[in-house]
Every structure is written in structure tokens, then in C-alpha cells.
């Protein structure tokens, strides 16, 4: 549900980008100003928890079947966390222009 909310927020971000610098900057500033900032922090924490719980769920809801026996969910979780770090680093460089 939080993800859908952020989906709408990003949709509005693109709308303001189309409308020009003034509208865009105003929206970004609003997202970074209390009390919206505090709401943002809570939602961000929920997003991180969603990611962690999703990775914990993968090995349980859909056992990975590379071998005769399913891989332990903790192994699947570990691999996914490593992938998560790699994908995030790739996003930093490919989407947001690096550090």
C-alpha cells in the first residue's frame, strides 16, 4: 500500500517536471519539509521493511529448486540482499549519475 502511495507521488513528480522548474522545485521542497518529511521517514522505513520481508518470503513461498532439496530460506535471503545492494549501486550510477 505504501508502494502504491509512492507510485502516485513519483507520478506527480513527473507531472511537476513537465510543468517546469517552479512547480517541480515547489513539490520537492514540500516533500522535504516537516511534517511531510516526518511522514516520508516513516514511509521510507516501511519501504525498507517491505523489501526485507519480501526477500525473507521468497525462499519460503517459492522454494528455489536448483538442487534435489530446496535451498534454505536464509541462503535465499542472503543472496537477495546481496543482489539488492548490487541493484541499488547500479541504480545510483545508471539512474542518478553516481556519487
Amino acid at each position: 500500500m505504501v508502494s502504491a502511495l509512492y507510485g502516485l507521488i513519483f507520478l506527480n513528480l513527473l507531472r511537476t517536471l513537465r510543468d517546469g522548474e517552479s512547480a517541480y522545485t515547489s513539490f520537492v521542497d514540500t516533500m522535504r519539509t516537516p511534517p511531510i518529511l516526518y511522514v516520508n521517514l516513516v514511509l521510507f522505513a516501511l519501504l525498507v521493511w517491505h523489501a526485507v520481508s519480501w526477500f525473507m518470503l521468497i525462499g519460503k513461498a517459492q522454494p528455489i529448486q536448483f538442487t534435489d532439496r530446496p535451498l534454505p530460506w536464509k541462503s535465499v535471503f542472503g543472496v537477495n540482499v546481496l543482489l539488492w545492494i548490487g541493484v541499488s549501486a547500479a541504480a545510483v550510477y545508471l539512474i542518478f549519475g553516481g556519487i
Binding site: S3, A51, Q65, S88, I99
Partner: protein, 151 residues
């Protein structure tokens, strides 16, 4: 004939994925098409949300405020320059579409669990929430191709 299943609907035998297990064929029932499609979009959106959302929200709305990042990726000049790249447009299209299908599908079952049950109510929830996801995704597609395929 279907494989033997227990009362919890779990397979009693380990199926390593090399043999297809089919349920007993039922006759006279319409083929289910939309339900697996929506669950598939929910799952795809879950992966997109889990992998890509935390870093995106962190960089755009959290890190620059607290000085945790040397640059401001959400600054207009920076973001507008990156927005010219097709990969960035594809990224935000996938992010928005995936998150909307994931979140609205989850919200539907939260509302059903909260007591909004019944064929009519659930059909209405399906229509409203999927409409939000579809319209939002089309909106993201519009912004993604605008200025690229048309002005």
C-alpha cells in the same frame, strides 16, 4: 490424477520442479485468466518495489535533507538532465507501474480482510483499484515517452 495433498493443501511429496503437477481437471467451469495475471503483476511489482524503491526514495527525499549524500539527485537541473536518458524514463515507468499494481492488489485484500466481503463489493474494489493502477501506469507511460516520441 492429481498428486496427493494434505489438509493444508501442501504437497506430501517433494516435487523438485521437474514434473508438472496438475489439479484434477474440472469440467464446466470457465477458464481463469484475469486472476493469475493480476497476481503476476502483484509479484512483479513486489520485486520492483523491493529492489528499486528504497534507494530511489532515499536519494530523492531523505539523503539530501540530512546531508547524507554529496549531491542532490532531485535538484531540478540534475533530474531534468538525467530525465533525457531512455533508461531513466524506463526506470521510473517500471517503478510507478509496478508499485501501483503491487500496492492496489495488496490494498484490495486488506480491505477484504477488514470486512468488505461479497461478490459485488469485491468486484467494485477490483474495478476501482485496478483502474487506479492502469490509469497511473498509462500516466507514467505518457510522461516516459513524452518529449521522446512526441512533444
Amino acid at each position: 490424477m492429481a498428486e496427493e495433498v494434505g489438509s493444508t493443501r501442501e504437497s506430501l511429496a517433494w516435487n523438485p520442479g521437474r514434473e508438472t503437477v496438475h489439479a484434477d481437471e474440472k469440467t464446466g467451469e470457465p477458464e481463469v485468466f484475469l486472476e493469475p495475471l493480476l497476481w503476476g503483476l502483484f509479484s512483479l511489482g513486489g520485486f520492483i518495489t523491493a529492489f528499486l524503491f528504497p534507494i530511489t526514495v532515499f536519494l530523492l527525499f531523505v539523503a539530501p535533507v540530512f546531508g547524507l549524500w554529496p549531491t542532490d539527485p532531485a535538484a531540478y537541473a540534475t533530474f531534468a538532465a538525467h530525465w533525457q536518458e531512455p533508461l531513466v524514463r524506463l526506470f521510473f515507468f517500471a517503478l510507478i507501474g509496478g508499485s501501483l499494481f503491487h500496492g492496489t492488489h495488496r490494498l484490495k485484500f486488506m480491505l477484504v480482510d477488514a470486512g468488505l466481503r461479497g461478490p459485488g463489493i469485491e468486484a467494485a474494489l477490483d474495478i476501482i483499484l485496478n483502474a487506479i493502477a492502469i490509469v497511473g501506469t498509462l500516466g507514467a507511460l505518457y510522461y516516459a515517452v513524452r518529449g521522446w516520441l512526441f512533444v
